[in-house]
Symmetry: C2
Subunit: 185 residues, 2 copies
Amino acid sequence: MLDAVRAELGEHGYDGLTTDGVAARAGVHRTTVYRRWGDVGALLADVLDAAGDDDWQPPDTGSLEEDLTALNQEIQTAMTAQPPVMEALIAASFRSEKAAQAQRRLWEDRYTRCDIVVGRAIRRGELPPDTDARRLLIAATAPLYHHLVLLRTPLDPQLPRHAARTATLAAAAGAFARSPSAPGS
Amino acid sequence: MLDAVRAELGEHGYDGLTTDGVAARAGVHRTTVYRRWGDVGALLADVLDAAGDDDWQPPDTGSLEEDLTALNQEIQTAMTAQPPVMEALIAASFRSEKAAQAQRRLWEDRYTRCDIVVGRAIRRGELPPDTDARRLLIAATAPLYHHLVLLRTPLDPQLPRHAARTATLAAAAGAFARSPSAPGS
């Protein structure tokens, strides 16, 4: 069923997603879909929740900059994949509160799983021990989303590495230190 | 007419925006709206183009970090204003190619106007002369958009300054230097 939602979403976008279309593609009766999910927002929320229910782990290359670069490359690949399911899901989150909540859960889950990237860099001595992992991870990844989702500029193959290096340099300069007496604060 | 579009958008969101509603609010006949704009996407494109046709200039405080902080505060204020016209315009850009193109023009115009923030910092000796202004500006502002538009996390009053400081520290460390032999590249 969720595969059918993803396929319909990729083919028709959020505007073309209907419970009838999903039912037809999945080969079930429309009342089955309607009874279980009720509306398209609930279907999408389940797609998003299912996406978070996997064993994905962030890259582990041995250096912070390389880990963040590989992470950004994964983001760029996912956001530019055809059919554009990710973009359709983001578009849907502006119009369905259930989809928006599911998307918040997915972002939270993914950033939490990435905490280990920062933890490993701290243990290797690459970062101050009081580095705020979430702030660092968002600084490293936000330019990708900004370009791909909002600015919609042509794909820049250097961006994953540039954004990763920027965050790494800022982190080394103390930009994400929690302590108010840390350098740069 | 464009005020009517903004008011309808703020009240009903993109889903509730119709040429009929805009005509009624503006007190003109619906055929007038239909003949001139044709559809809602074209109306929105004009709202966006009008938003770019102003004399907005970025803050000029005397320091890069303060300029970027003030810029981020403006972004946070605009994105959280009620009614949420900015969010409705972004949502619309996922569904109307005309609105998406107008939004790309607006982003491009705003970032170009902000180049002077980086130029002034270079002249004050705060940044290397070959600093890539656009990359720096996007790094400084992207976390705001990521939080406000995609992550939809509760408003963080420290974020404008934190994101500005992160970009400033990274810039000082050479993160945005165009020359391949610059530090950090």
